[in-house]
Amino acid sequence: MSEKLGILLTTSPENENTHTVLRLAETALAEGRQVEIFLMCDGVYHLNDARLEGLTQKGAKVVVCAHNCLERKVERKSFVLWGSQYDLAVLIKESYRFLSFN
């Protein structure tokens, strides 16, 4: 199994974090690494960002905190996994390197 890069993204698309996470994830995928992104807080607004959907088409796995989506009335999308904090707890343990973008 290739080394997995785990990423936590909690800011809205207004933040430069979005660009950095997208570029970093694309580059990692192109290098043949696994990428998993967990969205929570205002990060869940990325469900309406086409660039994130594009990233999943390139092979990234994206999981959201469903609780934060429901709070914000952000609709479920088929390209992301409807998850919970448990998914983050596992990701932070299992990823080879883990980066937080808060």
Binding site: L5, E16, R23, L24, T27, E31, R97, F101
Partner: protein
Amino acid sequence: MKILHIIRDKGHELALSTALAQATDLTQKVALLLIHDAVLTRAETLKGLEVFALKDDVEARGVGDVVRLRRMPLLDYNGMLELIFESDKVIAW
């Protein structure tokens, strides 16, 4: 052990003081990667540390000449990933 600090905010006090304190332990190799507005951090607050910066983020802010004068290595995203994966621990502030 190699520790990498990825810093996003200009002059991030807590990140810089943590990195400097860790660097006093000679069994640890400490490096900083400046991204976003952290590329504008004053040189004097970075003394004694190995410092990299993300090229695109430096150029977006129009400070490429200043950063090059300081001989700070500029990385692309491949370089950033290499640094992340070769470090034992990474803290993204």
